[in-house]
Each structure stands twice: as C-alpha cells, then as structure tokens.
Symmetry: C2
Subunit: 231 residues, 2 copies
C-alpha cells in the first residue's frame, strides 16, 4: 500500500523548521526506528550538506535517523536500505534535475512497495506526475517535466488565493486555470501552508490548517476541510 | 541597430489595456504607418483570435496596423512583410512552445536588421537568452528553455520586492538569487510594473514608474531611475 505525507511547506512564520509538521511526521512514521533517506536536491542557495545537517538534526529529535542521498554513491543500495524517503523543499526544477539522474525509478518502485514517502513544498510537488504545477522559477532545465508520478493528481504547494496588493501578476487560481486549460482531465490539489495530504493506498486525508482546494477543469473548486475524503 | 521596447506589464490597475504603455509605444514606433506582426501565443485561457482582436483595436487606436502571426501560414513571408514585431503577455512556457515552432530564428534575424520589437510581460521575458527568469507556471513543456536571445541579459517582468503577508513562498529577490547561483555571469533586470527598458543598439533607457533593479551574482543590486544607463 502506497503511503505518502505531502506537506505544503516546512515552516510556518515564527515556528522552528518542520515545527507544525513534526506531529504529523511522527504519526505517519510511527514510534519505531527508521532510516530515512533524505534528498536535499531542491536546495540552491545553501549546500546539500548544509541542508542535510539541518534535516538530520530535526529527524534525530523526532527519533529517526536520516541518511543523505547526495552522499551515497550506490543509488540502488541507498534506496534498498532505507525505511522511509523524505524529499525537502526548495526549487522544484533543481530538485527534479538531480532526481532525473537515476533516482526516479528507484524511488517510484520503493514507494510502490509501501515504504513511506514524505515531501514538503517542492518535495510534495515532485510526487505529482509532472512538475507542471510548481510555483518555482525554472532556473535550471531538467531533461523533461516528468516527475516521480507517485499520485494521480498534481500538487500545488504554498497554495493561496491571496495576492500582493496592486500587483498585476497572475493569482494562483489563475495559474492553475491555465494549467487545466492545457492539461484537462487532471486534478490540481492546492494545499495551503500548514496543510498536508496524507495518502494511504486508496484513502486520503487532509490534515492541518485551512482547507484543501481541488481544481478540475469545468468544475467548481472543491474545498476539503481536515478529515478523510475521496475524490 | 537593434531596437527593443521591453515592458514589464500591459496594464496598471484601473487603466485600460496598454494604457500606461501607449505613449511609450508611440514614441518608440514614431508617427508613421506600421504593420505590426503580433504574436498572441502567450494567451491560454482566451483564444489567439480573441487576443489578437483586442490588440489590433488598441494598435489601431494608436495609428498602426496589427497582423496576427497565428493567422499567417507562411512564416517567412509574415516576418518579411512586417515593420515591427509585438509579442504579448500571458504564459511564457506557452508562448515559447509556439515560438519554437519555426518563429525564433526568423524573429531574431528580423530584429537584428533593426525592425523594432515590442514585448510586454511574457513578451519581454522571451527577448532574453532563455526563459529561466519567468514568473509563470510551467503548464506546457517547450522543446527547451531557449528563447529569442535578442539581449544579453535576463528579464524578470512584474518585478516586486513585496510579498503576500504571512506567506512562506520565496520572494522575487530570493528566486532571482537562486537563478544567479546556478547561472553566474548573467544579469537579471527586474522591471517593476509600469516600467520598461528601451534598447537602442548599445544604449539603454529605463522609462516609467519606479526603478529598474539589476541583479548580478556577488554584487549589490543596482537600482536605476528613469533615464539612460549603461551596465
């Protein structure tokens, strides 16, 4: 059974890194020893090592051991030997560029086997079939826009209907409407900050703050409050 | 001599379409008959025809004739027969996807010959070497990130330092810093709404509201007030 914890963001204003997420991560992974393979590839303005150290410490505080995917030369063995996979946020294009270097199939197979997957922000985004609903700047050109394809819908993390006052850039709902125009038949889950979607095989739960917004071409937006839901 | 008018945006709040831009376009194109070849390919949630009709009317009011690039089957002839090129805003990925269908080289050559180029928003963005500094959602996968390459720097339209209050998504300066980290040696021109960069061969002018922000890796941001500047 596929198990995924897809978090909109790592950190809420004024809270420590993975603060709001901690209880959800612990509930999801359980009170057991875990070797979590961490992918720091979304980090751009800080090094993979720096990112890994921060995450290792936080997972350590939760009682789990983190391994840095960037430090492990044998990718197959690295994925084989882990009990969970975590993919951190940052820039989605940078992340998928590095994942496309031999990691995608390995992660996909491992998650199919039931190894839990945790992703926040860009790390949640890349669980989607493609990266076509990222908010990030395309600072690097990946091989293509294909992603981990662990779920059948697209994620839009940091979802908000707000906009900068008096600024004419497209709002998030406008951007998602553009996506649906070109990609009909695929749903977009807009997850607000402080919110997450948990996938347990065929069942799904929305957890955290606010409401999940599900967009589909030609339909009203479906707003989901915390709790189980089907779609 | 290359001549480009690169506008951050088409429309300011409460103003008509191309309202603030009108006097700059007229100054740029002059008081002469012009056949402007218009590219509506950035339009997504409205048709190319609809986009063209709106632009045709506005250019008509300014005394120019607009031709719709999407309606002309013979691309070489279309570019050959125009006196100016205009590329409209919308989604940059959608725009470049269609430009990559045989238009890029033709436009590049024509602009090298001195035919004036006007682009707003995504249309200004694609004058850059690549689309790596777009703000848009990658709703469609172009062949690659290469763009018209009419200038040696990257444009970031709708530039702002503002952000949505209490929202954790990256600010625009943070996104540009990510770009510079991966693409050192290339400058990014952040053009605020209501502002434009006019290129006349080797000389440049900033016009409109506010200040142009020029970003370069390892350097302080350079702020340029309206007037001529070199860089």
């Amino acid at each position: 059974m596929k198990r995924l914890l897809l978090l909109s963001n790592s950190t809420l204003p004024g809270e420590p890194f993975l603060g709001w997420a901690e209880k959800h991560i612990k509930e999801f992974l359980g009170d057991t020893e875990r070797k979590i393979l961490f992918f720091p590839f979304a980090g751009v303005t800080f090094s993979f090592d720096e990112y890994f150290e921060v995450v290792k410490e936080r997972f350590g505080e939760m009682g789990y051991e983190a391994l840095g995917a960037h430090l492990l030369k044998d990718k197959e063995k690295a994925v084989e030997n882990c009990d969970a996979i975590a993919v951190g946020g940052g820039n989605t294009f940078h992340l998928v560029h590095y994942l496309q270097d031999g990691w995608i199939e390995l992660i996909r197979e491992k998650v199919k086997e039931g190894i839990p997957y945790i992703g926040w922000s860009a790390g949640a985004n890349v669980a989607s079939p493609t990266i076509r609903t990222t908010n990030d700047m395309p600072i690097i050109e990946p091989k293509n826009f294909e992603s981990l394809d662990l779920i059948s819908f697209q994620i839009n993390p940091h979802f908000t209907e707000e906009q900068i006052p008096n600024h004419g850039g497209e709002t998030r709902p406008m951007r998602i409407a553009e996506f649906l125009e070109i990609n009909p038949g695929i749903q977009v889950f807009g997850i607000p900050e402080g919110g997450l979607v948990q996938v347990n095989g065929d069942s799904m739960q929305y957890k955290g703050i606010g409401q999940l917004s599900i967009f589909e071409k030609g339909k009203e937006v479906m707003n989901v409050s915390p709790g189980s839901f089907s779609y």
